[in-house]
Symmetry: C2
Subunit: 202 residues, 2 copies
Amino acid sequence: MSDAILFVLSAPSGCGKTTILRKVMAGLPGLVFSVSHTTRQPRPGEENGRDYHFVGREEFLSMREATPSGFLEWAEVHNNLYGTGRAEVERQLRAGRDIILDIDVQGALQVQEAAAPVMIFIAPPSLAELETRLRRRGTEGEETIRLRLDNARQELRFTDRYDYLIINDRLEEAVDGLRSIIIAERCRRRRSPAGLPVSAAF
Amino acid sequence: MSDAILFVLSAPSGCGKTTILRKVMAGLPGLVFSVSHTTRQPRPGEENGRDYHFVGREEFLSMREATPSGFLEWAEVHNNLYGTGRAEVERQLRAGRDIILDIDVQGALQVQEAAAPVMIFIAPPSLAELETRLRRRGTEGEETIRLRLDNARQELRFTDRYDYLIINDRLEEAVDGLRSIIIAERCRRRRSPAGLPVSAAF
């Protein structure tokens, strides 16, 4: 059996998750990013298989209803379906590649039921600081900012369902935190006789 | 209650433990090294309280027989007693400092019974490679090298009692591994509501 690890990463909007993940993945070989399935139309510049697997609604529903479900988690947002394909995750793990899913708390809890992921949460130093950051971006109206802060408050109630909590106070430290968790989990997994790459040598 | 972490580090002789630990501690604030007690005489250059707490045999034995024992672990080697003082470890943890104990497998298993440490093992890539390294040092006779290899083989049978296994194949990667484990454990500990430094802010 492969020794590869399934990571789930969640963070409220505005916590810097995308930036942190991009920096960590650039410096860490053997870690791949899961590409989700969606029924929504591709936007200009989006590529099938790189940004999303773009599928029809019928195909999505038939995957979803399979036993076991073709999705580790799924959600419907604005009449579009989104999901994490089980087959893709299992294929990467079998190939010995660690895989990381970037999903919200509801999706993360579904994956936790379906698989045995390492759960990582990125939080802001405080809600006040998150509000400051969202306003500083200046890309969203007052209503959207309120909505994001409400969502953040809801999501932060679930941090105890996660294995690790990273506070994104200083970006470089948060990047170091995520990178360290992935390296440490590799050392943790490896400790079992089955995972010990050198067991034959002793 | 303090949120600080007790780490236990073990490695067979010749695995580079001292070098790795020195490099990690130089770059990681908030981590202190535990100073052991011993009944042996100080060697030239050794300083009381820095290298060891040098104590008389009677004082050592009375600490050891206290209830609970004044030592988290102890051992007798060549008629000298060595031990890790419980009070010192507890004082550092209460002050919020993570503390790391550098002890052999027998001592580590004693600490595991007495406290709830994070257990880390550093192993060579193989016994053959360890033998090469011991011979390359050129400081020990054939008999000592045989003894060290036998000890290593014994100690390596206990890696499954540890939480993490670091293979010291390339030094820089092993240093990165130990550093990452310490940072990741801080993110792990922090996830509980009690440990969340920002809980009041949400």
